[in-house]
């Protein structure tokens, strides 16, 4: 399939024109309101221009008039599939700024919630990936398994997806008594279901034909465009924040950072499946050893950060999520900026998809795992 990378314009016999097609804001496979202006020649894509901003809610501006716990509540809704990681990023930023040390119990709980969120996000990604390529059954298989995680979240945090569970200093309430038992049950059950995913999609010849050698991103390009997360690791870019800048309970856990040098869609796909295995492994190491203790430190009623600039990065399901807070000593931040992984990943799409066909464009976008509110904020 590497022949399709060369764009041959037959200008001598038949005059063919390029035309613009709008994969508009309303489209079943752009995973949100994203507009792509695609310049096509027949079926071949020449250039893609993403137009973002259709779901821009002014979150960063809103944060300037909110207190820090309220900021956390808004971060749920940006990358809603990695809600807890977003929450944790802001909490860690505030805690580091105030030099507050959280108890070990909090670190364990946060990391377990992180990994469960990552699993839920990857499950949704997998079911939508199959659906985009036409295997509509995968949608139901993925959601069926994701329901277990969402039920666990609901029991402990009260919400299924937009958790709002971490607060500066700890978590909002202690974990439910059933939590450990349910998580252990889920791990055993999901381990049995994960091979089904491989049978249904990974090993399928049609699927492999659709993703092998499609959407190649070289290591240099990944670094240049700032593509992080499984999309970057698929090109060999070692960027796992859990390894390079560990936080919470990650220093205490044994896990591998999976890399693949192939750089095509199948590599990115396979990496996410392997990340699901790794997440299960991490949760297993932590779930039995949650230390006793407080679930939060007593913080002052009104959280005020000292003057200065603070940055914290976490590994969300999509890549490196960063929170940059500029504070002038008051109870509202002066400026909050979120480094969203989706934004950088999206703009590498042009590099990956140029020269391929429309159907490939859809497949490549699926493997990038974009969540548009994360890009637009």
């Amino acid at each position: 399939m590497s022949e399709t990378k060369e764009i041959i314009i037959s200008s001598d016999k038949i005059h063919t024109d390029q035309y613009l097609v709008n994969m508009g804001p309303q489209h079943p496979s752009t995973h949100g309101v994203l507009r792509l202006l695609v310049r096509l020649e027949g079926e071949i894509v020449h250039h893609i221009q993403p137009h973002v901003g259709y779901i821009h809610s002014g979150i960063e501006k809103m944060c300037e008039s909110l207190s820090y716990p309220q900021v956390i509540h808004l971060t749920d809704r940006m990358d809603y599939l990695s809600a807890h990681m977003n929450n944790e990023a802001v909490c860690l930023c505030v805690e580091n700024a105030l030099q507050v040390e959280v108890p070990d119990r909090v670190k364990y709980i946060r990391t377990i919630m992180d990994e469960l969120t990552r699993l839920a996000s990857h499950q949704l990604w997998w079911c939508v990936m199959g659906m985009d390529l036409g295997a509509l059954t995968t949608f139901f298989y993925g959601l069926r398994d994701r329901e277990h995680i969402l039920d666990i979240f609901e029991e402990t945090c009260g919400a299924r997806m937009t958790l709002n569970y971490s607060v500066p200093g700890g978590v909002m309430f202690d974990i439910h008594p059933n939590f450990q038992k349910r998580v252990k049950e889920f791990i055993t059950e999901f381990r049995k279901k994960l091979p089904e995913y491989d049978e249904l999609l990974t090993g399928n010849v049609i699927f492999q034909e659709r993703t092998n050698d499609i959407g190649y991103l070289s290591l240099e390009d990944a670094i240049a465009w700032g593509v992080t997360g499984p999309s970057g690791r698929g090109s060999g870019f070692s960027c796992d924040v859990r390894k390079h800048n560990p936080y919470s309970a990650y220093p205490l856990v044994q896990f591998e950072e999976k890399l693949d040098t192939k750089g095509d869609s199948f590599a990115r796909y396979r990496l996410r499946i392997e990340e699901m295995h790794e997440s299960l492994h991490i949760i297993e190491q932590l779930i039995d050893n949650i230390p006793e203790g407080d679930y939060a430190v007593k913080m002052k009623g009104v959280v005020k950060l000292p003057e200065g600039e603070f940055y914290q990065r976490v590994e969300s399901a999509r890549g490196e999520f960063g929170v940059y807070i500029v504070s002038d000593g008051k109870k509202n931040p002066y400026r909050v900026k979120f480094r969203s992984p989706g934004f950088s990943n999206l703009f590498a799409l042009n590099k990956m998809a140029a020269g391929h066909k429309i159907a490939d464009l859809v497949a490549i976008m699926s493997t990038l795992d974009l969540v548009i509110p994360d890009i637009d904020r």
């Binding site: 390529l133 509509l136 059954t137 139901f140 999609l201 049609i206 034909e209 159907a359």
Partner: protein, 362 residues
């Protein structure tokens, strides 16, 4: 009236005589045409309803859910409700669409379907037209449907529809070759293109067993090419919901969309019926050569029931494909046809010729 569930020819003959007694031969012909036309339309409507319901239930079973359950007992009235809804929808036509072609396209697709259905042998004595070039006629007539699809895509004045129609046109034209060649394999085995002769000569063994390897290969290729012909299953890029939001019938609503929708399901029925007639014995019960007692037991089930059982089995297979596999890309579909299926088909024809010449068949 001479109604014999095992042989309808008595009944049809009696009806013909009944009409002739009461009116002139011309009037009889016209009335008979009307009766046959209405009964075909009724069949298409009812079987289409059944197929849509079956698809939703089968798809739900594969996805571990229940499917329609609320409208009527077990959701049986769901399709009727859907069609009533489609009938009541506003017919929105794009302003710059080509009016005549836009309105004509659904009808062409329907006409092709009806034409192909006319020669299918449903049971002994229940076949409307029995040409001596039956198989050839079916392939020729199902090609007319392509025109409908291309017209729909072009006249909608919509880039997405045009892309969908072009893809679909290329795909159907290519796969017609495979369909025709796999049918040619069976024509060699049967010695005739006439559908009633093809069915009768499967009295001892179905052609799937009779021609062993060669027939099985032809059957598999026919199934693959047949699903590609009807824009179904892994070959449904013409209406790929996740890419082009409905392809060539994006701009159609209400009853016109219902025509395309129904035509697709009835085309699936025609492909299954052809597969049944030509490979699985049509309305012939399962006979194992000269095993008299077994054959006699099999004969108890009426031929009409045999036919529909086999057709439903093949339709289930086709539905199974659709809900399991991802979609192929357009260049992969064309590669599959021209680089793989066509050479295999040609070799298979040679193989079948050898089998027939050396009489190395059951």
């Amino acid at each position: 009236m001479g109604f014999n569930i095992y042989d309808f020819s008595g009944m049809t003959h009696n009806m013909h005589l009944w009409f002739l007694e009461r009116m002139s031969p011309t009037a009889t012909t016209i009335v008979e045409w009307t009766v046959i036309g209405v009964s075909y339309m009724l069949f298409v409507a009812l079987f289409g309803l059944f197929l849509v319901y079956a698809e939703r239930k089968v798809c739900a079973a594969f996805q571990q859910r229940l499917g329609p359950m609320r409208v009527g007992l077990w959701g049986l009235l769901q399709t009727i409700a859907d069609f009533i809804k489609l009938l009541m929808k506003e017919l929105i036509m794009p302003k710059s669409a080509d009016k005549f072609l836009y309105n004509l396209a659904p009808f062409i697709v329907m006409i092709a379907t009806f034409l192909a259905m006319a020669v299918l042998p449903f049971a002994k004595g229940l076949q409307t037209l029995d040409f001596d070039i039956g198989i050839f006629y079916v392939t020729a007539v199902s090609s007319v449907g392509v025109i409908g699809i291309l017209l729909a895509g072009w006249s909608s004045n919509n880039k997405y529809s045009l892309i969908g129609a072009m893809r679909s046109g290329a795909q159907i034209l290519s796969y017609e070759l495979s369909v025709s060649l796999s049918l040619v394999t069976i024509i060699i085995l049967a010695g005739s293109m006439q559908l009633s002769v093809v069915v009768e000569s499967q009295r001892d063994w179905w052609f799937l067993f009779k021609g062993h390897i060669s027939s099985v290969i032809a059957f598999v290729i026919f199934l693959i090419a047949g699903t590609a012909e009807t824009n179904r299953g892994p070959f449904d890029l013409a209406e790929a919901e996740s890419e082009l939001t409905a392809g060539f019938h994006t701009e159609y609503s209400g009853i016109k969309f219902a025509f395309f929708f129904l035509a697709e399901y009835i085309n699936m029925f025609i492909v299954a019926a052809m597969a049944t007639t030509v490979f699985l014995g049509g309305w012939m019960p399962l006979h194992f050569g000269q095993l008299e007692s077994f054959n006699h037991v099999m004969d108890f089930i009426p031929p009409l029931v045999w036919f529909f059982m086999k057709v439903c089995g093949v339709i289930f297979l086709i539905m199974w494909f659709k809900w399991t596999f991802p979609r192929l890309r357009v260049d992969q579909i064309l590669t599959l046809e021209w680089k793989y299926l066509l050479p295999i088909n040609l070799v298979n024809i040679l193989l079948m010729c050898l089998v027939v010449l050396t009489k190395f068949h059951l």
